[in-house]
């Protein structure tokens, strides 16, 4: 998976580079719009992460020129949380946008969504350690024992299991399970995870659902 980051802020581009390399992407970084345009047009990337405010040539101009020749998916990063920025970006052909301050996890989730697009193979069975999930029958077992889950608990478990090994932030979970796409003061996800954990992990010695403090939750057999 090849990725281009066009971002002039050195700290931002440094951590994005490092983080995304660690996520298994091959990452190129451009520090300004002109280099960014050059790289984006010369090479084939799977996704381009493009800052709006750039020296030399701004992100929207880079995007417009790119779109005249290529359909590479683009995520825009904008610091100005203004409606016209988003509208302009989406009109110019951006596939998604993130408003600074954004969380790294959210960026990863969006990148995955963009690269996964189009090759969504339906899965019926999921397996994490001794946990088995039947997505069609909406049933789950651990060690052969049926877990009595409510509909929402099952939805949460399925969401985590589909992305096993990936850290899911509370925001992403709220969106996947409840279709709620706003930050709220409510600790709904925390409370729901606590309930799921009581049924999923508490009776068993091996824990599968892990809390990553400050980031979110991950389902994996460690």
């Amino acid at each position: 998976m090849k990725l281009l980051i066009v971002e002039d802020e050195p700290k931002t581009s440094a951590y994005l580079h490092r983080g995304l390399v660690e996520q298994g992407y091959a990452v190129d970084v451009a520090q300004n719009g002109i280099d960014g345009r050059h790289l984006a047009l010369e090479f084939d990337y799977d996704v381009i992460v493009l800052d709006v405010m750039l020296p030399g040539l701004d992100g929207l101009a880079v995007l417009r020129e790119l779109r005249q020749r290529k359909q590479t998916p683009v995520i825009m990063l904008t610091a100005r949380d203004r409606i016209d920025d988003r509208v302009l970006g989406l009109q110019a052909g951006a596939d998604d946008y993130l408003v600074k301050p954004f969380s790294f996890l959210e960026l990863v989730a969006r990148l995955q969504a963009l690269t996964r697009r189009g090759r969504n193979t339906p899965v019926a069975q999921l397996r994490v350690g001794d946990l088995e999930i039947d997505l069609f029958a909406r049933k789950a077992w651990r060690d052969g024992q049926r877990l009595e889950l409510t509909a929402k608990e099952f939805a949460l478990l399925a969401a985590l299991a589909r992305r096993q090994g990936e850290i899911l932030s509370k925001t992403v979970i709220a969106e996947l399970v409840w279709d709620v796409n706003f930050d709220s003061d409510a600790n709904v996800v925390e409370a729901a995870v606590k309930r799921l954990r009581a049924k999923l992990d508490d009776p068993f010695p091996q824990k599968l659902l892990h809390t990553i403090r400050g980031m979110g939750y991950v389902l994996e057999a460690r």
Partner: protein, 451 residues
């Protein structure tokens, strides 16, 4: 081009003056013209009356020279009055008859230009019946109009001159009066000019102003009141923001410094980073909320509005909050329904905040009612819960940013005091308002959306 009020008034005065004096001039001119005509006619009539008896009695050609000499004597040296006697018998005539007054000419007043002289004359002719040898004749008296016309001309010129001068005077006086009359306005603008953000409590003095301006000053002072309170709110808001950001920042700086001041194991450092991340998430949440509020302040309107059943949307939110509600031991009942155009995620966010607010102030086992009802030309969505009565004066302020009933600031990261402010912003984005009441132990918070 914009004219100053005083100049405009001066022009209006001048225009009024022009109108009045022109009218006056026309009327005076008319009166004079008529009077002059009347006096000319009176004179003509007097002259004709004077000589008619003489001619009437005279029917003898031998004595006709008496009439002629009388009339000769009656013509003044400047020739401004003339006489003619015309008739069929040449013996009984007087004056040059080249003027062509035939016997056919009727009696009465007329006008005539004398051959050669170019002078306009006014005439009066009268038939005199036959006596003795004399057939019927006609006596014609003529009066030179020139002096009368001259009088009228001089009068007209004088009238025009005086009128013009008077108009100018009126304009000048008008300008001066206007400036004098507008002096309170100048004072007012001087005062307004002296207003500055550093003296927020300053107001315009109304006591010395005339009633018309006093009203303006009242309105202006009202605007100043609102600005002052907005300004103070903004200042308070800035202080609150700084305060809200200060706590997580203090933690971040402090715990990072502590962590770095010794050699630490990876586990310890990881824990510091995790704790830092929590604080940072808190900062991010605050900043995102503030950006959201700022966008609403800038007049952003909900753009992705779709028509939905509000009860169904509230149901979705209740579904989302189900775990929290169960943990708090609280039931939610939805009453009523209506369809309205809302942006679903914004509406859900507002309802979430209202419900969380209600849950936080409810006791275990309590029931929260979410009410949907038409209100005015919109729809009201309100959440009721039993709770401590809230004083009336605090009710409207509850939707202010960072406003908390208990002025002690809770440090809980789950609630940074923007929840209800966000409800208000969302209401504004939907063309609605917020509502808060506290009656008989039931606190009710809600908002309206345009139907």
């Amino acid at each position: 081009m914009k004219l100053s009020i005083s100049r405009r008034l001066a022009l209006m005065f001048a225009a009024t003056g022009f109108l009045v004096f022109t009218l006056l001039g026309v009327v005076l001119h008319g009166i004079l013209d008529r009077e002059l005509l009347r006096s000319q006619r009176a004179e003509l009539k007097a002259r004709v009356d004077l000589y008619t008896p003489l001619i009437q009695k005279n029917g003898d050609p031998a004595r006709w020279h008496l009439v002629q000499s009388k009339l000769d004597a009656a013509i003044p040296g400047d020739g401004r009055a003339r006489y003619w006697i015309v008739g069929d018998d040449p013996r009984f005539r007087y004056g040059e008859t080249t003027q062509g007054f035939g016997a056919a000419q009727g009696d009465g007043y007329g006008e005539l230009e004398l051959n050669g002289s170019g002078k306009p004359f006014r005439t009066l002719s009268r038939s005199i019946g036959a006596t003795g040898e004399r057939p019927a004749v006609r006596l014609v008296a003529a009066l030179d109009q020139t002096p009368y016309r001259e009088t009228l001309r001089v009068f007209t010129i004088a009238l025009a001159g005086v009128s013009l001068a008077a108009m100018l005077l009126v304009a000048l006086l008008g300008h001066w009066i206007a400036r004098f009359g507008l002096r309170p306005l100048e004072r007012l603008s001087d005062e307004a000019r002296a207003l500055s953000p550093s003296k927020l409590a300053q107001r315009l003095h109304q006591s010395t102003l005339p009633p018309e301006l006093s009203e303006l000053a009242t309105a202006f002072n009202g605007a100043l009141d609102r600005l002052e309170s907005a300004y103070q709110q903004l200042e308070g808001f800035n202080a609150d923001v700084a305060h809200e950001l200060r706590t997580p920042l203090t933690n971040l700086i402090g715990q990072t410094q502590v962590a770095l001041s010794r050699e630490r194991g990876a586990g310890d450092l990881e824990e510091v980073l995790q704790s830092n991340l929590e604080e940072l998430e808190r900062l991010r949440a605050i900043i995102n909320d503030m950006l959201f509020l700022a966008r609403a302040d800038q007049g952003l309107r909900a753009s992705n509005r779709v028509e939905v059943s509000l009860a169904q949307e509230i149901g979705r939110t209740v579904d989302y909050l189900e775990v929290l509600l169960e943990d708090a031991g609280v039931q939610v009942r939805v009453e009523g329904d209506a369809r309205a155009l809302v942006e679903k995620s914004l509406f859900g966010r507002a309802v979430t905040n209202l419900l969380i607010n209600a849950v936080q102030h409810s006791e275990r086992g309590a029931e929260i009612v979410a009410e949907i009802a038409p209100r005015g030309d919109g729809i009201l969505v309100a959440v009721h819960n039993h709770g401590t009565p809230i004083p009336d004066e605090q009710l409207p302020r509850l939707f202010d940013r960072f406003y908390r009933l208990d002025s002690a600031r809770s440090g809980s990261s789950s609630n940074h005091g923007l929840g209800l402010a966000i409800v208000r912003a969302i209401a504004t984005m939907h063309g609605g308002q917020v509502v808060a009441t506290s009656e008989r132990g039931v606190n009710r918070f809600g908002f309206t959306v345009a139907a």
